[in-house]
Symmetry: C2
Subunit: 292 residues, 2 copies
């Protein structure tokens, strides 16, 4: 068997067209251009690159991105003051704080300063809490609207658009980070999957993986998951981005895995392209909510 | 094999003595009596009973409980106004909102009005979010202090005090409620257990349970978990409280299960008595934090 490729690039292309149309309609109805503020302190090369990529992505959708760059020497108070000003600015609908922040800055305090309704990156504790409290499927009664981090949201969307059903499925997540593993677990739980979260302390990880109908991997270890860890026909979602001698590889040994899985995301070109798209969707949603 | 009983009553007795001592020392050092405000609207008999039980429990620890009772006809605004006044009252260290609230009241809005630092019941989205974002083991860097709902916290404490180790263990939770199942999963994840969350849509639930070193059940179905669902020697934590012809029974068929399990909580007298104790601990902790 050779797995069907869950093509994130192709999917993102379709979604870009949909979003362009939705943004154009929103702008026509409201006169508002959805705008994200990207906040950075210092010149971390990865952050600089990513901020420019966001600017380009948003421009391509008819939306706007403003870069707010403080010096590496900025104090926590200066960063929080900037965030507070952006919270209060009606022309800004979403705010992303780039990490790493300079040493000595309390990241939780900076993220906590975000208005949850502008936290399109889903990092604020209120958004994390609403996801954790959310009932199965749909926006739950008794929990407000919330934003989910773009990476796991993109993985879910990629699966949904390939007709993958979640209810009653055995989903195994390797990795329990607050921005990928844990929100992915909570998203799959809401869709009535049976969800197991594994990590470095898990005994017989290959054996647990072999039970998975849906296997999601977000550990940051190149090609850790082997072909014989995969149940024949399973869906494999690889969130890994590892540099191996200049080549980008995922957390799954793709060539082996693709012989066993039913569907698999390639790296690059799988979950990666979906992340930016979900950020665009979150920004449009934030602008909609703020427009009433 | 007959399981060792995880005796919540006995454990609670030990902890009551510890808390009495800690409260006495805190009062002597600060002159402050930790005080919880219990907010209710209407006269739901279960809520009335529980409010009185809390009053008695707190009095026994040298702490205080104030009951704030609004009529069944209270508006959301009136309840939120009361909560805001209690947030602002320096003589109140913890606030519990009793459910059910009258029909038509938005529970999320009322809970959201709580100050997270007085939310000793762990229901506020900020506390849920901090638990979800928390790194493994210990209070994580980058996440503020938070309160965990008393029922799962009590289950964890009961296991800890019986020397049960979590790291690398296979933990299975049946039930995914926001006040028991999900926080229990997140607590076990922090302790490096491999955690699976099951529910009514899980396929082959008995088979999944048979893999559990630690099996936690919080579904509200009398004696649903049978003896042959349990791995020999497993730890079984039963959060169920069901009324069967006037008799209180758990979610686990105790007599069968006790023949197979290594350790098991009885119902009544297992996780139940731990819940009030953890609420006492949360109140003392809140008073400590507010005293600086």
């Amino acid at each position: 068997m050779t797995a069907q490729i869950l093509d994130g690039r192709d999917n993102a292309k379709t979604m870009r067209a949909e979003i362009n149309e939705a943004v154009a309609a929103f702008k026509e109805n409201t006169g508002i251009t959805p705008t994200i503020a990207v906040v950075r302190a210092g010149e971390d090369p990865g952050s600089v690159w990513y901020a420019n990529a966001i600017k380009k992505t948003m421009a391509g959708r008819g939306m706007d991105a403003q870069l707010h760059v403080l010096p590496e020497t900025a104090s926590e108070e200066e960063i929080v003051t900037l965030v507070a000003a952006l919270n209060a600015d009606p022309g800004i609908h979403g705010i992303m704080i780039q990490e790493p922040l300079p040493k000595g800055i309390d990241e939780a305090a900076v993220k906590g300063a975000l208005s949850p309704s502008k936290d399109v990156d889903g990092v604020h504790e209120v958004n994390a809490g609403r996801l954790a409290l959310a009932a199965p499927v749909g926006r739950p009664p008794g929990v407000g609207a919330f934003f989910v981090p773009a990476t796991p949201a993109g993985g879910m969307e990629l699966m949904r658009r390939h007709g993958i059903e979640f209810s009653g499925k055995n989903a195994v997540i390797i990795g329990r980070s607050p921005i990928v593993g844990k929100p992915m677990a909570l998203l799959l739980m809401r869709e009535n999957a049976t969800v197991s979260v594994c990590h470095s302390r898990t005994r017989d990880l290959p054996g647990v993986c072999r039970e998975a109908d849906i296997l999601c991997v977000a550990v940051g270890r190149a090609e850790m998951v082997k072909g014989d860890w995969i149940k024949p026909g399973a869906v494999v979602i690889d969130f890994g981005v590892n540099d191996v001698e200049g080549k980008m590889v995922g957390d799954v040994a793709y060539d082996e895995a693709a012989q066993v899985a039913g569907m698999i995301t390639p790296v690059p070109g799988g979950t990666g392209p979906m992340t930016n798209i979900m950020l665009c969707l979150n920004l449009l949603e934030a602008a909609r909510q703020q427009a009433g």
